[in-house]
């Protein structure tokens, strides 16, 4: 199984420009994953390898999806980038800095039910800025701006249980942006939503990404979702988790699922996952 690398074209796509494209290695990547391995001890001795020698460079402002079956270590890899989990060996660099914990430019959007139920939408977003040395009023005004960005200025006072799943995930995205991170790490954020809401949220996410220009690492089960959103799709193979394919998507946005090229790439990814 050949590892397909097409970083140069990805950098050009990401707006580094043809000049930078002449020597893309010079532009240091936003996220640099170097030989990351993750092992867990099993009960009664022995180990299981969840991630085996993962190396991956992601350029600034690139939208990268990681697709793979359950148990291939997608979420573990994301948690390691987030600084919530430590690699057993290897390292992750963000803008050249070794990741030792959260808050080094990572913003995190989790699967459903990660909002604090006792806080309103506005307070949840303000909580995202909890660790900043700002006054309460400043945090609230920052939170208000972010709620506007995700189109929820009218629901600032609502508690999570009073909001639909789609609205909750919008709040989660706004909260993730509260530390003004360079990177948005998203762990199957739309996985629990119904199909229509999901498509709406994908468009919404692209709009926010255009507005705020972040580097995005997006985990999903859905090939269609990955192809709709990403500049680049990484396929992880399980047991142990490793990169099977690295596919650059050069289709212009907005992308149509009925487009011939879209379907051709879908086929390619599907075969990559099935093999």
């Amino acid at each position: 199984m050949a590892l397909k690398q097409s970083r140069a074209s990805a950098l050009v796509k990401a707006g580094i420009g043809p000049d930078a494209g002449l020597n893309p290695v010079v532009a240091s990547p936003m996220i640099d994953i170097r030989h990351v391995q993750k092992r867990f001890a099993i009960r009664g001795g022995g180990q299981t390898v969840v991630l085996e020698n993962i190396s991956l460079s992601i350029a600034a402002n690139q939208f990268v999806s990681i697709v793979g079956r359950s148990g291939c270590g997608k979420t573990t890899l994301l948690n390691i980038i987030a600084g919530l989990d430590a690699a057993s060996s290897g390292e992750v660099l963000i803008a050249g800095q070794r990741v030792v914990g959260p808050g080094q430019g990572q913003g995190m959007v989790f699967q459903q039910h990660s909002l604090f139920p006792w806080l309103t939408a506005l307070e949840n977003v303000a909580f995202g800025a909890r660790s900043l040395p700002l006054g309460k009023a400043e945090k609230i005004s920052r939170a208000r701006t972010l709620l506007e960005l995700v189109g929820l200025e009218g629901s600032a006072g609502k508690y999570p249980r009073e909001m639909s799943g789609g609205m909750q995930q919008r709040v989660a995205i706004a909260r993730a942006l509260a530390l003004d991170p360079d990177i948005l790490l998203m762990d199957e954020p739309f996985g629990a939503l119904d199909e229509l809401t999901r498509i709406e949220m994908q468009q919404e996410l692209l709009r926010i990404w255009e507005a705020r220009r972040k580097t995005v690492v997006f985990i999903t089960h859905s090939i269609g979702e990955a192809l709709t959103l990403s500049d680049r799709v990484i396929l992880l193979a399980p047991h142990p988790g490793r990169i099977a394919h690295d596919i650059t998507i050069e289709l212009p946005r907005p992308r149509s699922r009925t487009d011939r090229h879209f379907n051709a790439i879908y086929e390619q990814v599907w075969r990559g996952l099935a093999s």
Binding site: F110, A178, L179
Partner: protein, 262 residues
């Protein structure tokens, strides 16, 4: 709506039929009044309790007052120790592991079985009654506070950590609020335990209080007074529990109040 009315009507009709049956049964001397106190006697007994009192001089209002004060004393003492202690034990896994067997053991000991021992230690006065109520409420509350703190959804803790919230801030701003619904549920159950313990606690050394009223009525074959005592305890328990539920809706408007206690 209409169906509910019909159901309520049928339920009321059933109660009316039973009350009327007992009434007629006693009047026709098929039933003995001290075994099945008829409604008319219960009403008479209640009037006696509000005017003359039973025993003479102690009205139902002072019985209620004395009982409520005893329950509140024991309950508040139990809360005051159980809440901070549970918050500590729940946050420190080592403490939790050490205390689990003790808590399960003491929780399983029926409170009233301690009565003889507590009398030996503290006499048959007020303190003994309050201690028994406090004991019953304490273990229920303690185990619920510990569980509330210990079983906070890990997804919430992970989310907080992703925003660099750790240590004391994490405990105060995430773990405690997340544990509140469970604590409230524990507080409700503990109050119910207080009402269960009170009758036994008031069995000795007093003629005041609803438990004493019930025991006293027994010695005089005044079953209707016993029934009144039961009814009043039930109504009090219901009112105070509803008050706690309303307080919870007020303090936790985000709707965490669906949590069940154990």
């Amino acid at each position: 709506m209409r169906q509910q009315l019909v159901q309520a009507f049928i339920a009321l009709l059933m109660i009316a039929v039973i009350l009327l049956g007992v009434e007629l049964g006693v009047r026709e001397e098929y039933l003995k009044a001290y075994e099945f106190p008829p409604a008319s006697r219960i009403v008479q007994g209640f009037i006696e309790l509000t005017t003359v009192g039973f025993p003479t001089g102690v009205t139902i209002w002072s019985h209620i007052f004395v009982t409520v004060i005893r329950i509140l004393k024991g309950y508040i003492a139990a809360m005051a120790i159980a809440i901070p202690l549970g918050m500590l034990i729940g946050a420190v896994p080592v403490l939790d592991k050490m205390t689990v067997p003790l808590i399960v053991f003491f929780r399983s000991v029926a409170t009233l079985s301690l009565l003889p021992l507590v009398i030996v230690w503290f006499g048959a006065g007020e303190l003994t009654k309050v201690i028994l109520i406090a004991y019953g409420c304490f273990w229920v509350m303690l185990s619920n506070v510990i569980a509330g703190v210990k079983y906070v959804d890990p997804a919430l803790i992970r989310a907080a950590r992703a925003f660099k919230v750790n240590g004391w801030t994490l405990y105060r701003e995430v773990i405690l609020p997340a544990a509140l619904p469970r604590m409230f549920a524990g507080a409700r159950v503990a109050l119910g335990v207080g009402f269960m313990v009170i009758v036994g606690a008031e069995m000795i050394g007093t003629i005041q209080g609803l438990g004493a009223l019930i025991m006293e009525a027994r010695s005089f074959y005044r079953s209707e007074i016993t029934v009144i005592g039961m009814l009043v305890i039930g109504i009090l328990g219901y009112l105070i529990t509803s008050g706690l539920a309303a307080l919870e809706r007020l303090l936790l408007p985000w709707g965490g109040g669906s949590s069940e206690a154990a």
